[in-house]
């Protein structure tokens, strides 16, 4: 049965029927769900959130042709493992931005340019996205980042030094900043 399913996934990909590939992978914070499209990494689900709901969200927003295909996420997993070991400071992965639009999309792309080991404020992000008064909206954009860790929203802090929020929980944000030598 396993061989049949693997053959099916391969044939689906060849015929262009594998629109969303996903894998559950271990991390120091618990299980991450990674999802990619033929264009690139589209979603990282943190352990704090229900992976089933995320798969349903992908089926609704990207395509219902969602298949578990761990081999398609091998490179993402490899780079994440190195990152968690402190051996990788810049992800080199194609990103599919289709789950981000408008102002939020601009903020999330700006987040993606914050270098390893550095931090910015929500106000910086609002300014980078072209509207420095939209600080609250920039905060929301950080909170709705579909590709956390790889798109490093944990590097965005409150003006004045407060940690701000994190979808994966503040302890995780703190741990990531410690890993990068910021805290």
């Amino acid at each position: 049965m396993k061989a049949s399913l693997q053959r099916l996934t391969e044939r689906a990909e060849t015929e262009g029927l594998l629109n969303v590939a996903y894998a559950n992978v271990d991390s120091p914070f618990g299980s991450l769900l990674l999802a990619s499209t033929p264009r690139g990494l589209v979603r990282v689900n943190l352990p704090a959130y229900d992976p089933e709901e995320t798969l349903e969200e992908l089926a609704a927003k990207v395509s219902p042709r969602v298949l578990e295909a761990p081999a398609k996420l091998d490179e993402v997993r490899r780079e994440l493992d190195l990152y968690f070991e402190g051996k990788l400071t810049e992800f080199d992965l194609p990103i599919d931005w289709q789950l981000t639009r408008g102002f939020r999309g601009k903020v999330q792309r700006a987040i993606n340019r914050i270098p390893y080991g550095q931090t910015r404020t929500y106000m910086d992000m609002a300014r980078s996205a072209g509207n420095e008064r939209a600080v609250r909206a920039a905060g929301t954009a950080c909170g709705s980042n579909p590709i956390p860790i790889v798109v490093p929203c944990h590097r965005v802090l409150r003006s004045g030094g407060g940690l701000g929020g994190y979808g994966g929980g503040l302890p995780m944000k703190e741990a990531l900043l410690k890993l990068e030598g910021v805290l």
Partner: protein
């Protein structure tokens, strides 16, 4: 309209049953090909599927069409009994319930029972699939059921 579940869920929930039905209908050695055809056809059609209430029934319908296609492609002739008789030494169905018993039936009876009760085919279509007359299909089915009753008694 209920949103479509991620396709993987259909595989997780129904792949084993679809495979079991196909093993019964076309034999173990050809079941995988029919399985691939079934799920690729399902994947192709899936985004436009409107009625999501009976996904299992939808998949089994596709599976039975693929089983019929398979039998027709083999030349509208009766099941290659000699081949299947060798195959039936291997269990076609796995798990509990009635299906392991169905395995022990002679090939034609087994196929008739699987097509009737797992694929829900009418007698005329079972006959078409097995390349025999409707009467012969009915007889195979009847003999199969009779034997199963005896085994269960």
């Amino acid at each position: 309209m209920t949103p479509l579940p991620p396709f993987q869920k259909l595989l997780d929930d129904h792949a084993t049953d679809v495979m079991g039905v196909l093993r019964g209908a076309v034999g173990r050695s050809d079941a995988d090909d029919c399985f691939q055809e079934t799920f690729l056809a399902a994947l192709r059609a899936y985004p436009k599927l409107e009625d999501t209430r009976n996904l299992r029934g939808w998949l089994l319908t596709i599976a039975h069409r693929k089983a019929i296609d398979h039998h027709r492609a083999n030349g509208r002739r009766p099941l290659p009994i000699d081949v299947i008789e060798v195959e039936t030494r291997e269990p076609q169905f796995e798990g509990d319930g009635i299906w392991p018993l169905v395995d022990s039936l002679p090939p034609k009876q087994r196929a008739a029972v699987a097509l009737r009760y797992a694929c829900d085919l009418p007698h005329a279509e079972i006959a078409a699939a097995l390349g025999c007359s409707p009467e012969a299909a009915r007889r195979s089915l009847h003999e199969g059921i009779k034997r199963l009753r005896k085994e269960l008694a």
